[in-house]
Structure formats: structure tokens, C-alpha cells
Point group: C2
Chain length 348, copies 2
């Protein structure tokens, strides 16, 4: 890695995706890394122009990169699911991003919508499974458009898939001061899948005696995120529950504008992919209104993943400092301006 530049594939995608990724790259450059970015114009525009979402040849090319930075995917002009399934989810599946890592942390100075909640009460990390469950895409429809239509969706869960992400979550919990792992599921209704998840957690727990384990149904967990966020340290959960709970997590930790994520392939058999939790937000696209902070924090996760820990810490610190200054009346900046301000801090 030392002798050659780090190769980064950049997929800005749709809507505000392009705007926030530009700022993320600015920060990446300013922090002084030997990272060489290559852009890929995947997303709605390409789909309309050529009908392609993710051509096999491009997928093969992407496999050769050290990491991927993605903005956001999805546009109202494309039928729901096309870009999500054939581009974003395909990347997660093909590159075996079985860990979708989503920190939920309230930065000092950020306002949470929760009253009377001290910043230290919101400090968890959600380990969302990224390759199975209801995201498998299996299911179908019969007699579409008739009064006798039936539409199904199937959640696929394997011992292989569950154990590896649970094991990752235990390792993560072990590395944190509180060493607590909460499984979030709905074992009382999704009895087959829930049983697999719960048994797996129980079994792997024996190898991690220093980690306390806990369980919460997804409905109760949603409530606790709001009423008692301090209950959670590391959360492990399936793909769909993780999707829901990390948006909720973003909301309590000051908003989707700050929520970063990494789609991780821990064995590094394919590039990991970093992206803000937010979507393409077509309603505010092109107006310079998007907060690039989530992308910039995703860049910090990317740097960490690549072993560039000093640079990662520098970016995180710059964001933390920028956030403190927002309180002092720095609101109302454009996407560019926020990017510039954080860039200035990492260069300084």
C-alpha cells in the first residue's frame, strides 16, 4: 500500500449525492493522502441515457479499487427499486458488504430533538447486516392489478450470514468501554429468523464472556431510542430493522445531515463502500442546501478502513470543531461553504 497510490472509486449518484461527494473529496484531498479518485457516472442520468444501472464490466472494474465513496442513489423519474436494487444493493451484495456499520453518536454541541438528553447518552454503534434478510429481493407477484393479486417478499437468513455479522458485533462491543451488545429483532413474530439470530448470539456470546448481551424487540427498541438511548452501546440487527433504526438513530443524534456509514467487507475480498445514511433528497437537490457533513464523516470512516488513522482522526476533529462553531451562529451555510470550512480546518 505504501508504494502506490490508494485507488478510490467515486460514485456521486443522484440528487444531492453529487453535491456532498464533491465536498467529501475536497476534504480528502486537503487532509493529504495519496488517494487517487476515479469517477463513475452511475445513477438516474446514465439509466435514462443508456438503460444501464450497473453494467457487469463496470462492476468488475470497481472490484479492483481499494475503496468506494458513494453519494446517494434514487430519483423519482426512475421506478422505485430499480436504482436501489440494481445499483446500490447490488454493490453491497456483490462486494459482500455484510457489515453495514452506522455510528449513532451525538457530537458535543449538536442539538438533539430529545429533551433533557445529555450528549453522552447517545453513543452507540449499529452493526446492520448488509447482505440478507428481506433485502435478498426474493418474492413475487401473481395476478398483478386484479382483485386477486398476491405479492410476497421473503426474508432469507443463513447461519453463515448471521454468525459472521454477530461475531463482528461482539468484537466491536469488546473493544468499547461499556462492552454491551444488544440484539434487536422481532423473535416473537418472526419466529424462524428470530430463533436463528437469538441462538447465534447466545452461542457466540460464550466466546466473549466480557461482553454483556441484551435483547430488544424492534418495536420496543424504537421506543427506547427516543426514551432511553443510553440503553444501547453496540446494536446488532438484521438488514431491514437496521435500516429503520439507523434513520431513527440519525434523527436523535442531530439529524440525517450528520449520519455516516460504511458498508464493510471485513475480509477485504472486495472494496468496502462508504456513504452517508441519507438519500438523494431530490426535493433539495441542486440548491446547495445539503449538509455534506455525513459524507465527510463517511470519508473519515473510509480513511480508518484504509489504515490512515491519523488522517481519519483529523477529519473527525475538523467536523467536531465545525459543529461547535455552528452553535455560535454559523447556521445557514451552503453545502460548499460547510465543505470549505471543514477543508480549511484539515489543511490548517
Amino acid at each position: 500500500m505504501e508504494s502506490r497510490n490508494i485507488r478510490l472509486a467515486v460514485i456521486p449518484g443522484d440528487g444531492i449525492g453529487t453535491e456532498v461527494v464533491a465536498e467529501g473529496l475536497k476534504v480528502l484531498e486537503a487532509v493529504g493522502t495519496k488517494i487517487e479518485p476515479t469517477h463513475y457516472d452511475l445513477g438516474a442520468a446514465r439509466y435514462h441515457r443508456t438503460g444501464e444501472t450497473l453494467p457487469d464490466a463496470v462492476l468488475q472494474e470497481l472490484r479492483g479499487y481499494d475503496a468506494i465513496l458513494l453519494g446517494a442513489v434514487g430519483d423519482p423519474s426512475v421506478p422505485p427499486g430499480v436504482l436501489e436494487r440494481d445499483l446500490l444493493l447490488r454493490l453491497r451484495f456483490e462486494f459482500d458488504h455484510y457489515v453495514n456499520l452506522r455510528p449513532v453518536k451525538l457530537f458535543p454541541g449538536v442539538e438533539t430533538p430529545l429533551a433533557d438528553t445529555p450528549a453522552e447518552d447517545i453513543d452507540m454503534i449499529v452493526v446492520r447486516e448488509g447482505t440478507e434478510g428481506l433485502y435478498a429481493g426474493t418474492g413475487g407477484v401473481m395476478r398483478r392489478g386484479t382483485p386477486h393479486e398476491i405479492a410476497t417478499q421473503e426474508s432469507l437468513n443463513t447461519a453463515y450470514g448471521v454468525e459472521r455479522v454477530v461475531r463482528f458485533a461482539f468484537e466491536k462491543a469488546k473493544s468499547r468501554p461499556r462492552k454491551k451488545l444488544t440484539l434487536v429483532h422481532k423473535t416473537n413474530v418472526l419466529t424462524y429468523a428470530g430463533d436463528l439470530w437469538q441462538r447465534t448470539v447466545n452461542r457466540v456470546a460464550e466466546e466473549f464472556p466480557e461482553v454483556t448481551t441484551d435483547y430488544s424487540h424492534i418495536d420496543a427498541a424504537s421506543m427506547f431510542f427516543v426514551s432511553q438511548p443510553e440503553r444501547f452501546d453496540v446494536v446488532v440487527t438484521d438488514n431491514l430493522f437496521g435500516d429503520i433504526i439507523t434513520d431513527l438513530g440519525a434523527a436523535i443524534a442531530g439529524g440525517i445531515g450528520l449520519a455516516a456509514s460504511g458498508n464493510i467487507n471485513p475480509e477485504r475480498t472486495a472494496p468496502s463502500m462508504f456513504e452517508p445514511v441519507h438519500g438523494s433528497a431530490p426535493d433539495i437537490a441542486g440548491q446547495g442546501k445539503a449538509d455534506p457533513t455525513a459524507t465527510i464523516l463517511s470519508v473519515a470512516m473510509l480513511l480508518d478502513h484504509l489504515g490512515l488513522h491519523t488522517e481519519a482522526a483529523k477529519v473527525e476533529q475538523a467536523v467536531a470543531d465545525d459543529i461547535v462553531d455552528r452553535l455560535a451562529g454559523w447556521a445557514g451555510r451552503t453545502t460548499h461553504e460547510i465543505g470549505d470550512d471543514i477543508t480549511a480546518r484539515v489543511s490548517g
Copy 2:
């Protein structure tokens, strides 16, 4: 209905279920109705004693009642899912409770965990589908306990099942001042089911030109419940998303101690069933700590369903008044005391 007593089946169930139901019945009696309750000892105790969850003969008997009042079901001594599936969900399915009606309303004086949110911003009603989706219970497991285990869960969605609940939701929206209906789903991932739900909403919308329709993905909706609850008036959603979002709704509207629900069979081909949203809470059972208000508000919904609108309003007002007095330092009351106080108000 006038000439004979109204027949009510009462299923206190497990944990705090028995405690809160006792208070609900006290209020029901005090408000002066000709309602004659019959108790059924279904739940964990009976399961352990006889192995029965819901014997067919009991199910048949229950069918003859005008309504059912249920406390809560579930106990750690019973494997997860047994009582939930074979008792609670079986009742919902057998009695075709396709509308699970869950108001999310902040009573004046109740503290919400959300900062800076005026009470009038939280006033919605969730219409949760109650008989389909992932609650169908279909799925299975292969090679259980081996490294090659696979566990599946299937979401079943029919035009018949979706249209009737969507239609109910539109009627509900039409009857409210804001006349706004939001579909909550995950159409970009659950493409088959999402397509059925979205098409159904679009089609039925044509019959309700006065109702504004909107759409939100479940992940975004979870965020908006916290950051912009005023977005929502009537929400229609599937069984699992409805489960999650109504617990979240309870959290923002002052806690699970206040959240009421009705499992409604709108055609009255079988008795509807009313229950607090909260569970059996084994950790605080038998200690007089449970708030019976959710059950008492469920009793108000029950009265409304039976056409006893004056009595329903009286119970609701008593709860509203009781809540205002909580602010004046009436905290720390036992389950009994809260029940007594509300009873005194409806008798007065």
C-alpha cells in the same frame, strides 16, 4: 343492543395485563354501562397448567361476544412466539381484525421526550394492517442448529387485504380536519409488496379527491416521527411497519403507558378487540407500577366502537383531566390509585 346487556370477553393475560385490565373494568363499570364482563384465563399460566393457548372451543365462545378487552400477552417462561402467535395473533386473524387502529396524540400537559414540540404537532392516527404481511407466520427453517441453517419468513400481501385497510384509512382521513393520508412502506426494497400498496393507494385515492396523499419510506418516517411529527395526520401501513411505528408513536406522545389500540373488524362479523399497545412487562409485573391509562383509553375506544359515544367521551375527558393533574405533582401513584382517580372522575 338496547334490550340486552352488552357482552364483553375479558382476557387479562400475562404480567401487568391483569393489573391494568382490573382498572379498565373499574372505569367501565363506573361510567354506567350495561356491560357484562366474562373473564378468560388465557395466557402463560394456563399454558403451563394445561398446555393450551387458545382452545378451539374457547375461540368459538369468544366469537359470540360483542367485544373483547385484552391486557397483554407474553412471558419469559414461554418460548418466544408461542403465546403471541397462538393466542394474540390468532385472535386478530380469526376475528379478521384487519384494522389495527392506533391513535398517536399528545394529551395537553403530557411531556413528550421531543424538545420544542407543541402538543398540537403530535396528533395522528395510525391505521396498521392487522391480518397479513410478515405476521402471516409463513416461513421455515432447514438444517436447524447446523452451520448450513437457513431460516425464512414470508410477507404475504393480497389486493383484498390491502385494499380494505387502505379504504378504511381514506375514510378516516376524510373525517379529520387535515384530510391527509400518508402511506408508509419500503417500496424501493420490498418492490412486490410496495408496488401493491402504492398502486392500491393511488387507485383508492381517486375516490377521495378531498384527501391529500403522501408517501414515506419506513426509515424516513421513523426519522420524521421524531423531527417533524406534524407531517402526519392519518398513516396507513403494513403489519410490521405499523408495529414499529406505533411504539415509536407512543414514545413521542408521552410513553407507552398512554397508548391505546383497537383491533377492529369493521364489518362486525366477529368481535373487535381492544388492548393497550404495551406488552406484559414482566420486569415490573405485580408491583403496582404499571400505568393503567393505556387500557382505560382502550376502554374508551371500545365504548366508541359499541356506539356508546357519550360514555367514551366521558372516559377520555377523565383521562385528560387526570393527566393535567399529574403535572401538578400527582406522579408516583400506583396502578390502583390511577385507576381509582380516573374512576372517581367518570362517576362524578
